[in-house]
Subunit: 222 residues, 4 copies
DNA sequence: CATGAATGAGCCTTCATTCAT
DNA sequence: CATGAATGAAGGCTCATTCAT
């Protein structure tokens, strides 16, 4: 079951340290010196095991992406028999958990955040490998909720509104903690946040939904 | 009317170039060399006029913050006689314009974005000087919409949902342009976006609003 | 009269040290660290004054080329009234002096030798700037000696035979000094060498010359 | 007949790759990494089989020297019954073939050329083992041509003139191909070159020869 | 008021070599 | 007999900063 590349002690130590430091500093500010020092390894070890800084970064990215998706698969708990609304709730919850986790898998979230704010060459890979599938799943759910005949741009707009909320609760921490030191939006509040975002978004889509499903009598729902 | 610091030609050129480069690259990736080259100034000019790189950054930040807020004041067009819903629409529109503008005032938006994703020592200043007032205004509007008695945390949650959407439409460009090359969400689509976010958010708050304003008959709206 | 680039003390010291070290080691083996240490300058000075190692190398090359050609111009002492044979003697002497000088201008000869044995990107520049004119001059002299109607390839072959001898007396030093420790072929023997090469070559071309000047009676010459 | 050192597959692969790369790059620019990669061997194999980079280089040098001399012995085709002039022609031809061959044995020529332009510690060995015998043979031939009583320095001068020509036709390729793209002096032109050099040199020595053999009537030759 | 010159720390990378199995 | 792993020294280069005029 072991990955063939995982048998080196130094290599693992570097992966660990690199994950942490890249997550904290981003690609360009992180230095291989720091990483190696923290890993207790020689500087040249990076070149030996990963070719160069880029290679290390890519390896780190892929590794923690795997961990993250194994721990929180995008369709975690989604069953085909569920209603689209239920699926959305599950999706949001899973998405939040993936990006807000504070454990080791969380590094991936931070790596991602850095890529977002200053995309490197690795960004294209990330988009294709993980963002696109997630987006596709979300848009299918949203389309199902909005009903047939809805334009794709509408679906995209609503999906982005949902994703935007999730990401903001993740990234706004530096701001919110300064503005409202007493409020916290962390891993422990995931349930509350998922609930809030789900309800807010489902209501936000109701008008469009009704437009596309005119036969359903208004004021009957729930 | 002239600021006392504005009388040097070199100084102005540096401010201009620094605004552009800091906005593009962020604080740490931007180099004083690049800035001075672009400004046609000597490399020592930065330290001469601004002390050091940090000083320049701070000056740039404050300068473009002023410009940005003069151009798009947070309460742009908001009149006291408007309903909270109208105020929200105006706020969102103004907010979007401020962060999505592509002209010189836009540099501030980009500077802010960089600060957001990797806060520097200047972050605290920014939060107090410009984010807090904006947030306060938004939360007042949201509170007015939700009605009396609503808990502050609720207000915060809804406000964050709104802000999150706006920011995401601003920052998601690298992702969306890759996922859906044909769709665009730029300065030209501000009207569409403002409309979408406003309607989505107003609906999203309806349930909570109704809960706090039980006397209003359901199913009567619109 | 001063070059505009020559007013910096450090710059001059680096040019001096770089000339020596590049001449000794060649481009790739020489290190900027060594050069700067020897010049008493900071490592970053190279970047400041010359951009990078390549820039320094090019500057050195051009500088010492100038010195060398000012000291020993290819047509040194050649007058139009001289016979081609006399011109050849002068050319060979001048060529030998240029490549065998042991003073500062000699660095250029060594630089050239390194470029010859492992051409860098600077080789093309050198060929055009200094080798081509020299070759052209030599080939004109040789063509004049051989008489009209001689094929260009013949001219080239004879010219190369001449140049080959000159260069070998310059570069064979490591070999000869080991094989025949008592013999010396240095700057002090230039007269002897010039004489030898000139006579050897003039005789070497006689047959071809007579073929092209049949009217001249054999056995009458000299 | 097999050398005792020739029984390891890896060792042979390294010798092969090293020959090629050392020939192309010279000792200092060649890297053991490249060599091992090209040989399909582990990077530690060099140190295992040859001690270190120097050891490998020496082994390569000796090996290809052997091959080269087996293929083109310096006295290739020289018979004692030949006149000195005939011997010279044969020597020059053989010498040119050895240094201009493009096959595997040619690697030695290139190795030699690198040693020539930047002698390493291995240079002394080479001089003694292969240059000295060659030179001795050539000088004997030249002495025989020039006749008795000629001073050794004269013999040396003429020999160097001959060797210089041969080497130049070998090494001038980078220059000539730039100056006269249409002319070629490669392995295919060896006959032409050998002929040219032989005639040129024999004529070049005629005066000295006649001086030492006064009884021969001038103007009788050919 | 301004600048050309110079600095030292730090960056990523590459090298030949050695260790441990 | 051989190798994957690891090492330390050194390479060229770039940075923000300071000096001296």
């Amino acid at each position: 079951m072991d990955d063939k590349k995982t048998n080196s002690k130094t290599r693992n130590a570097i992966m660990e340290a690199a994950g942490k430091i890249f997550a904290e500093e981003g690609f360009s500010k992180a230095t291989v010196r720091d990483i190696c020092r923290q890993a207790g390894a020689n500087i040249a070890a990076v070149n030996y095991h990963f070719g160069d800084k880029k290679g290390l970064y890519l390896a780190v990215l892929k590794y923690y992406q795997e961990i993250s998706f194994e721990t929180y698969p995008p369709n975690l708990g989604i069953r085909e028999t569920q209603t689209p609304e239920e699926k959305l709730r599950v999706f949001i919850r899973s998405f939040l958990m993936r990006i807000m986790d504070e454990g080791r898998p969380a590094w991936f979230g931070k790596l991602l955040a850095h890529e977002f704010s200053e995309p490197t060459w690795a960004f294209d890979i990330l988009v294709e490998d993980m963002i696109r599938p997630s987006y596709q799943l979300l848009m299918e759910i949203v389309a199902a909720i909005l009903g047939r005949g809805v334009k794709e741009r509408k679906v995209l707009l609503y999906s982005m509104s949902i994703v935007g909320q999730c990401l903001y609760f993740r990234h706004s921490h530096p701001v919110i903690s300064r503005l409202f030191p007493r409020e916290a939006f962390g891993a422990k509040q995931i349930s509350e946040l998922a609930d809030h975002i789900t309800r807010f978004s489902l209501q936000g889509m109701r008008e469009e939904k009704n437009k596309n499903n005119p036969e359903v009598k208004k004021c009957k729902k729930k």
